[in-house]
Amino acid sequence: MSTLELINLQKRYQNGYEAVPGLDLEVRDGEFLVLVGPSGCGKSTVLRMVAGLEDISGGDMLIDGVRVNDMGPQQRDIAMVFQSYALYPNMTVGENIGFAMKLRKTDKAVMATKVAEVAALLELDKVLDRKPGQLSGGQRQRVAMGRAIVREPKLFLMDEPLSNLDAKLRVQTRAEISRLQRRLNITTMYVTHDQVEAMTMGDRVAVLRRGYLMQCATPQELYHTPDNLFVGQFIGSPSMNVVRAEVVEGTGGLPALTVGSQTIQLDDAALAQLPGVRGMIGRSVAFGMRPEVLGDEGTSSIDVDVELVEMLGAELLVHATIDAPSVKQTDEGVEIGESNTSMIVASMDARIRVNAASRMSLTLDTSRIHLFDLVTGDAIGKAKVDVG
């Protein structure tokens, strides 16, 4: 039963590098919050500050409303699972799990019961007497989990705990961790660079970019109403297609989008989703379409040249070119592609037949498109949802 609040939290490393310029974030009681972002965006830095392993350069950190900036990791009552697991090689599995209790001089019998309980929960009972060196990768991961949950800490921190597992085990363990967290109801902060992990596990997901919080919301909100181009492109796989478009005045005075040589008329349904676009006539914008919005139902359409068709069983990935430059938001800012054509991907029903090297018209549901500012990358006319 705990909360974590980060108020204008800052981290400047000794070499002067400002890894976290100022972060406001709240993890609610019992919540599973995922910190996600590309490599080097400061996820581990934030987590290590929460753990007390890294000094806080500025701002406040509150656990249960108590400022913990100046407390060492020993006093914060948190548990952490490391990417490397950091199991003590000289101790058996049982000793690893019981180490924290041993340091607290817990009664031997109590300790043995607790270790046994956790071992049973994680199916480690058969390997309690082994050293970490004699375990499989998955077992090591579970020992690391066991070491963390046995203490019933206020906060549970995990830094990419699945990245050393193979793909299949990762999916399985992902679900196990989620279930365990729900069952124990421990406030959790989880770091990953994998957006699938973030979306599947998080109650809420915080997307970081160069130490800045880009958006913190539920997975659905992040996916359907990204605050900015960065979040839009980071979340989702295959990622959102984004090309440059011009907002022009179309039929009946309603705005339309010019994409390369084509014009896409926006109807009332679309404008209800994108109210801000009305004031943008004459300006260039970044126009985003998720792959599944292309070639599905819709009133509008867009013509493309199909280059490659990938059959994935349930869906069909159509890679095609369109005559407009691509746009993406990187660490440096919004970048517009140099070439006047770009690749887009449509994810379609596998029963549709598509020929490679043909020109085709993809239907487009304009009420599900996204528009972003070409300079700031901010979503245009997004009907503001209170993220709070």
């Binding site: 392993l53 990791p73 020993q74 952490m80 090689p89 000289n90």
Partner: protein, 342 residues
């Protein structure tokens, strides 16, 4: 000039001849039919080492073992285990054994503990590389050199307090106001008593002062090796321990030390073997083991050569050999453990 030139030519010729023989043998081995070819090739390379091992180590060892059973200046009188009996019964000989035991215990313990302590304290200190370089410096000095240097530290000159140049004596005299009693110039390296206390089990003060010198040399080695091992302890192990609630002290004793245990054992056994052979310091500082400072290795030399008792000298060598065997065993086992990742 000519001499130097001659030497060079001789060495070059020798090396050339050796190479020629090796290449020739290898070529010959390569001519053999298949099942023999590989074995013969291996023998070409292993053979010379094997010859050296047998001729230089095994045969002399066996010869020494035989020698230890004889007595007389030419070791031609059968004596059975008489030398060993003397070794373990004669009171002077027992002092040699006693000294060696104290050398081994004190030097190994002190240099390992000092090594661990300094490695821990210096870790992440500001001038760590310089501190470690300073600590390591004595390791580069020969034992004889160290003995000579420390002879000056312990030197005493007559009874006149104003004529002393030895550092220890000077400090001793300067400490007059602090210490109880009256301080007179003292011949440190001739003091065979344990702080004025006569015992047949405790080492003499002079032996302790010599032990300080070896610790001075060995601690540098221990520090550098253990410090390197401590740097290899993964950071996240220590961090995980902290999060589990361990204080710095607890994480040092429960995580870091166990992690470098193998290295510590290696350092300790290496030091142990080095100390068992201690000879140079006793020669230079104890004038060849006088004033009850002799050790096994020193006595082995004194008996075998100046005193013409080769049989007894050989017996001492056998004892040294027997003492080394368990250490080598522990070390080998430790190496295996390290290799297998504990």
């Amino acid at each position: 000039m000519i001499e130097i030139f001659k030497t060079f030519v001789t060495v070059a010729l020798g090396l050339g001849a050796f190479l020629a023989v090796m290449v020739g043998l290898y070529w010959l081995a390569s001519q053999l039919p298949e099942p023999w070819r590989d074995r013969a090739r291996v023998m070409v390379f292993v053979g010379p080492a094997l010859v050296l091992l047998v001729g230089g180590l095994i045969l002399p060892s066996l010869y020494t073992g035989r020698l230890s059973l004889f007595t007389g200046p030419n070791a031609n009188k059968w004596y059975g285990f008489g030398n060993f009996r003397e070794l373990f019964t004669d009171s002077d000989n027992l002092i040699v054994l006693r000294n060696t035991v104290w050398w081994v215990i004190l030097v190994t313990l002190a240099s390992t503990v000092i090594g661990i302590t300094i490695a821990r304290l210096a870790d992440r200190m500001r001038g760590e590389p310089y501190a470690k370089a300073l600590i390591f410096l004595p390791t580069a000095i020969s034992m004889v050199g160290a003995g000579v240097i420390w002879n000056f530290v312990y030197a005493t000159k007559g009874n006149d307090p104003d004529k002393q140049y030895g550092l220890l004596t000077w400090l001793w005299l300067k400490a007059e106001p602090i210490l109880p009693g009256k301080q007179d110039p003292h011949y440190w390296l001739q003091d065979r008593e344990f702080f004025g206390f006569h015992s047949s089990f405790l080492p003499g003060l002079n032996t302790l002062f010599m032990i300080v010198v070896i610790v001075w040399i060995q601690a540098g080695f221990a520090t550098v090796v253990i410090s390197a091992a401590m740097k290899g302890v993964p950071d996240d192990l220590v961090e995980a321990a902290k999060i589990d609630g361990a204080t710095d002290r607890q994480s040092f004793f429960r995580i870091v030390l166990p992690y470098v245990k193998g290295t510590i054992i290696t350092v300790a056994t290496t030091t142990l073997i080095a100390v068992l052979k201690v000879f140079d310091i006793v020669q230079t500082m104890g004038k060849g083991g006088q004033f009850a400072t002799s050790t096994l290795a020193n006595d082995m030399y004194q008996r075998s050569f100046p005193l013409s008792q080769p049989g007894y000298g050989a017996a001492l060598a056998v004892i040294l050999f027997v003492a080394v065997v368990p250490i080598v065993y522990v070390n080998a086992k430790n190496q295996r453990n390290i290799r297998e990742g504990r």
